[in-house]
């Protein structure tokens, strides 16, 4: 006769995930495709908690566990509302009503990332811009670190922050992915890089006498004939120009 204790069996794997997900002790995740390619998106009741481009499930799970100190389980789909807000955020390049789980981040990182989320798609800003905008003009380096550790890339667009010299710079998933996303968003990356190569950080219009970040939507409306180039804020001010109120290339 088969022994009674042999009737002890293994519970299905889904039992653990079901319990931990419902108790809020684990995050669910799904695969999505976005401008940077295939990505995994983790979420919980607070919102989207983690995103990685091009990872495999095991690596993603390890990374989530390391970053959020919570396990992540592959689930069938995102909750409907969150999923809709996520699709919209991808399509528009803006957070909109998409909820983000900020709880794993320090106050400083939250400030950096919330500010970064204000940069419009198709535009870029240097680290020093973010640092100044959050009231820490000397913290450009710390801003770089906070952005490099952005747990929710793509939707919080750390790819829109570039080196202070105007070069596109690095990205957690490689500079090529950063370039691709920016181009999909409508930025002419090569011309941005060409300006940076020539040491140009700001551009202005000689009709309005306003200077901008080169990728500011106002700067891009200026015709070639009226465009002026500056290597620094000081040079622009000396020429009698004032900073743009939209892209705020310098303190007003």
């Amino acid at each position: 006769m088969k022994e009674l204790r042999d009737l002890r069996s293994t519970a299905p794997e889904s039992l653990t995930s079901q319990v931990l997900l419902e108790a809020g002790l684990a995050d669910g995740y799904v695969a999505r495709s976005g401008p940077g390619g295939e990505m995994f998106v983790a979420f919980n009741e607070r919102g989207v908690s983690a995103i990685q481009i091009g990872a495999d499930p095991a690596a993603f799970e390890r990374w989530v566990e390391g970053t959020l100190s919570r396990p992540a389980f592959l689930v069938r789909s995102m909750p409907e509302r969150l999923g809709r807000a996520f699709d919209k955020a991808l399509a528009t390049g803006r957070l909109g009503s998409l909820a983000i789980d900020w709880s794993s981040m320090s106050e400083f990182q939250q400030k950096v990332l919330r500010k970064t989320a204000e940069i419009a798609p198709g535009q870029v800003r240097p680290y020093s811009w973010v640092a100044r905008e959050i009231g820490n003009p000397k913290a450009a380096r710390a801003v770089g670190t906070a952005l490099a550790r952005n747990p929710v890339p793509v939707v919080v667009p750390c790819h829109r922050v570039v080196r202070n010299d105007g070069h596109i710079g690095n990205y957690a998933f490689g500079p090529d992915v950063k370039r691709t996303i920016l181009e999909i968003e409508g930025l002419d990356v090569s011309s941005v890089e060409r300006l940076a190569d020539r040491g140009i950080r700001l551009t202005g219009s000689d009709t309005t006498r306003i200077f901008c970040n080169p990728s500011c939507s106002d700067a891009r409306r200026t015709t070639d004939r009226h465009r002026v180039e500056f290597r620094s804020e000081q040079q622009a001010r000396d020429a009698g120009y004032r900073p743009c109120r939209h892209c705020r290339p310098a303190a007003a």
């Binding site: 022994e3 009674l4 042999d6 069996s9 519970a11 039992l15 108790a23 684990a26």
Partner: protein, 188 residues
């Protein structure tokens, strides 16, 4: 022969440690609690509910109720818990409710009864993917079945089964003995 051994050595020490971790930080240690009990709870629950009831759902609900209870307890209360019997009390209640819900819905065919032995279906008519012993187990009266299942599949001590079911330890011992005798008799 029906085996009578249970949980390996060091089990109690591990339990203590788990309980101390829970008292320190429920959220942190709950993952361990689930890992520790999931197989035992699932195996046991599977033998206590009709086949039409999803044992996984019952276990998930039991764990969630346990979690909600734990987060509302003080560390001292958590340390005083009898973890295994406490979890089983929750699970047994859910098993009973599930069986009752089935009984109230006559159009859902009652599988082997939590409420008593099967009337006219012999173990032979049971699904083929279940062993002979599984089928026999389902013919035991509910209290005997619970006692045998908690003892041999859940791996609980008699005193823990008494705590879990709220019945005297003596009754549990005699239920287990009668249950085993019955199983052996039917087997022959």
């Amino acid at each position: 022969m029906i085996a009578t051994n249970q949980g390996g050595a060091g089990f109690l020490g591990e339990m203590d440690q788990l309980q101390r971790s829970l008292a320190r930080d429920v959220d942190d240690a709950f993952v361990e609690l689930v890992a520790e009990f999931r197989d035992g709870l699932f195996s046991g629950v599977r033998r206590l509910v009709p086949q039409s009831v999803d044992a996984e759902d019952i276990c998930a609900e039991a764990f969630l109720r346990a979690y909600r209870a734990l987060v509302s307890m003080s560390p001292a209360e958590i340390r005083r818990l009898d973890l295994a019997p406490w979890l089983w009390t929750i699970a047994l209640n859910l098993c009973r409710n599930a069986a009752r819900r089935r009984a109230r819905k006559p159009w859902v065919q009652l599988d082997a009864a939590w409420n008593g032995p099967m009337a006219d279906r012999g173990p032979e008519s049971q699904a083929l993917d279940r062993s002979h012993l599984e089928a026999l187990l389902e013919t035991l009266p509910s209290q005997q079945r619970a006692a045998v299942v908690l003892r041999y599949i859940g791996g609980l001590a008699y005193s823990d089964i008494a705590t879990a079911t709220g019945r005297p330890e003596g009754s549990i011992r005699s239920d287990v003995n009668r249950g085993l005798k019955r199983l052996r008799r039917m087997e022959n």
